[in-house]
């Protein structure tokens, strides 16, 4: 497969397939994941090749899906659950935060919970309500869960396999508007980076942009635009939201003295709040300005015709950078 150029959607599909080939205990479950291959086709062809016992179309009940996945994990399987859209994870919220997250802890490590919960998340595809949510902060606030977000095909391919191999439950966030946005080359011969590590995706000296999932591209575009104006922005793709991998962040902010966090989730109590608090604690004397946050406003997700107003874009990022320099 080396050299193949694929979309994020395809990369995830290939990663899932690889994980299923490598380990017969890996199961895929969810609504419409079988014949249809999922509404985004991420599981396309898997049922055909691995059978109905391993690629399981489930009744229409998210709590049921996650709850039965808990039981399968207890039986020794590694379920990969698909939540059809971000806004539909909430019926399963109780099972996720009270059962999935706590099983390993309360059993004193006796019962592992190797489950991956895949959630296509974020906006920008012109969808109706409940189809563009960014629920990550709620999961990251829950000890026992790990939360990661991929932003590009190469990461998608590797991270899904790593998440499946992880013995802890992983909330796996897929930026749905990136599914078919860009293609990248997959190279199976290269060893992947670790799953729970952030990555500097563009070097810069004047300020640090922190992003993940769908906003990595926004941040990279902003950095490119800023470069035209002579401002050098460093961009970090956080990749792991819980645990956070702060070392590269601190290193960067200590150098640049400025940080702007960019996410689609509501600013209030979004990841930006935690990043701001930690950076300020650790880099207090290096900061030239407070950490600024660009995110979804603190309103419900608006009708799609104005979602671009709600979502952080290049200009709002650059505006925040300007404000940072205004301090």
């Amino acid at each position: 497969m080396s050299g193949q150029k694929v979309t994020l959607a395809k990369a995830l599909n290939m990663g899932l397939r690889k994980a299923m080939e490598d380990d017969p205990k890996v199961l895929v479950m969810g609504e419409d994941v079988g014949k249809l291959g999922g509404v985004f086709r991420i599981t396309d062809g898997l049922q055909k090749d691995f059978g109905e016992d391993r690629v399981i179309d489930s009744p229409l009940a998210e709590s049921g899906i996650v709850g039965t996945a808990v039981g399968m994990a207890l039986r020794g399987y590694r379920p990969v659950v698909e939540i059809q859209f971000d806004g539909f994870v909430y019926p399963a919220y109780d099972q996720i935060v009270c059962q999935v997250a706590k099983m390993h802890y309360r059993s004193q490590g006796r019962s592992k919970m190797p489950m991956v919960i895949r959630i296509p998340f974020g906006g920008g595809i012109g969808a109706v309500e409940h189809h563009s949510e960014s629920p990550e902060a709620q999961f990251a606030h829950t000890p026992g869960l790990k939360v990661v977000a991929c932003s590009n095909p190469v990461d998608g391919y590797w991270m899904i396999q790593q998440a499946i191999a992880c013995d802890d439950p992983v909330i796996f966030l897929e930026p749905k508007r990136q599914y078919h946005a860009d293609k990248a080359e997959l190279d199976d011969s290269e060893a992947p980076e670790p799953l729970f590590a952030s990555r500097v995706v563009r070097r810069g000296a004047d300020a640090t942009l922190l992003a993940y999932g769908p906003t990595v591209k926004t941040a990279l575009n902003a950095a490119a635009a800023a470069a035209d104006e002579g401002r050098s922005l460093e961009v970090i793709d956080l990749r792991t939201l819980s645990p956070l991998d702060m070392a590269p962040v601190y290193e960067s902010v200590r150098r640049t003295g400025r940080a702007v966090v960019v996410h689609e989730a509501h600013v209030n109590l979004g990841l930006g709040a935690e990043l701001s608090a930690r950076i300020t604690e650790e880099c207090f004397y290096s900061l030239e300005a407070p950490v600024l946050r660009v995110g979804g406003f603190d309103t419900p997700y608006p009708p799609s015709r104005i979602e671009e107003e709600f979502l952080p874009d290049l200009d709002r990022v650059l505006d925040a950078v300007d404000r940072s320099f205004g301090f």
């Binding site: 179309d57 409940h130 309103t299």
Partner: protein
């Protein structure tokens, strides 16, 4: 395999999915061939002093116009005027039968597909398009026509319906015998939705409080790509029995039967006899939504078979064969449909995008200081593009 006495017969075998035509329990008053038939328990009764033929012509008109709403909206989606559309093709009789059985004071909690019920409630169908166009999330006042906003999270509205019905009880609007006062509530949902915890909890609450609610399930055989067999191994209407209230299966492609059964169930509710589950046995002739591709998961033979049971055709045949409607009538309805089409096309295209700052409206009953600051900050930011257009980045072009 040993048989284990004491657990009763294998229900899955007794009722199994074999009954593709709806089985013997299907309540039907008008056959696919357009013949009126008798049913021992239900009969079509448009009400004292009301002309039967006129009522049926009205149903025909409702169904034709409902279908037109659907085809127009589908076309509008294809032309990029709507982001998505949830088609009801094939479910017109279920919706018009259910919608016309309502009294004004009754209240309806729809899913995202109840365009025909909305039509019966007197909503301007243009209002249905806003959500799908992406300019709003429901543009009508639920209280005006007693028709709730569309609900997208599967099953959530069934609990709202039960709670509303409990409010009706507390208002003393049940079992008084006053036709304009006694109130029933309808919860719409699909076959897939029957698997959600919320829907089953709605059954439990409704039974526990004997709430005046009718659970109207359109079993269109599919939840996106999943067939009904994934959700239940016995006929869905029997779910109600486990909760202690009646369930019936009606031919959802038969507008007369659907009307009759719904009317009776609503009347039970209004009289204080509690909840009923109606399974309207029908078929989703189109895709799940305009973004779906059903060829991936179902056979065109099935669709062809169901075409023979078209809900509109059978009424048309019935009206024609019995001389209850003339060509002028059919032409007038067709004409009306065309006008409706124009109304929808023109109205849809003319729908303005919401103002960006409207995003901050109605988060709360009053704008909080926090949100005022966010809105004002954003407004000031937007203003910078006005004055300095083109000065900084490409975004200035917004």
């Amino acid at each position: 395999m040993t048989q284990h006495p004491g657990f009763g017969p294998d229900l899955a075998e007794v009722f199994g999915p074999a009954a593709q035509d709806g089985g013997p329990e299907l309540i039907q008053l008008l056959t696919p061939e357009g013949e009126r038939v008798e049913h021992h328990d239900f009969r079509f009764d448009p009400g004292a002093g009301v002309d039967e033929a006129e009522t049926i012509r009205g149903f025909y008109r409702d169904m034709v116009l409902t279908r037109r709403i659907d085809t127009e909206a589908t076309a509008l989606q294809r032309h990029g005027e709507l982001g998505i559309w949830a088609q009801l093709l094939g479910q017109e009789a279920a919706q018009v039968g259910a919608g016309r059985a309502l009294r004004p004071q009754d209240y309806v909690f729809p899913t995202y597909r109840e365009h025909g019920v909305a039509w019966c409630r007197g909503l301007d169908p243009l209002k249905l398009l806003g959500l799908f166009r992406g300019v709003d999330q429901g543009s009508w006042d639920p209280a005006e026509r007693n028709f709730g906003l569309y609900t997208i999270v599967i099953g959530a509205q069934t609990l709202h319906a039960v709670g509303y019905a409990m409010g009706v009880q507390r208002d003393g609007a049940v079992g008084t015998g006053e036709p304009d006062r006694d109130t029933a509530v309808v919860a719409h949902f699909g076959d897939g939705a029957s698997s959600q915890g919320d829907v089953n909890e709605a059954f439990i609450f409704a039974a526990s409080y004997n709430a005046p609610v009718v659970f109207f399930c359109q079993n269109n055989q599919w939840a996106i790509s999943e067939p009904i067999e994934r959700q239940t191994r016995i006929p869905l209407y029997q779910r109600a029995l486990g909760f202690g209230f009646p369930g019936v299966r009606v031919d959802g492609n038969d507008v007369l039967a659907t009307y009759a059964v719904t009317q009776a169930a609503l009347q039970r509710a209004r009289e204080g006899q509690g909840p009923t589950l109606i399974e309207a046995y029908t078929y989703r002739m189109g895709a799940h939504t305009t973004t779906d591709d059903p060829t991936r998961y179902r056979l065109s033979e099935d669709v062809e078979r169901w075409k023979l049971r078209d809900p509109i055709a059978r009424v048309q045949v019935y009206l024609k064969r019995n001389g209850l409607a003339d060509e002028a009538f059919f032409a007038a309805v067709a004409q009306e449909a065309d006008e409706l089409g124009v109304h929808l096309r023109e109205g849809c295209k003319a729908m303005p995008d919401p103002a960006p700052l409207s995003m901050f409206d109605h988060v709360y009953s009053e704008l909080t200081d926090e949100l005022t600051a966010q809105r004002d900050g954003y407004a000031a930011y937007l203003d910078t593009f006005e004055v300095s257009a083109g000065s900084t980045t490409e975004g200035a072009a917004r």
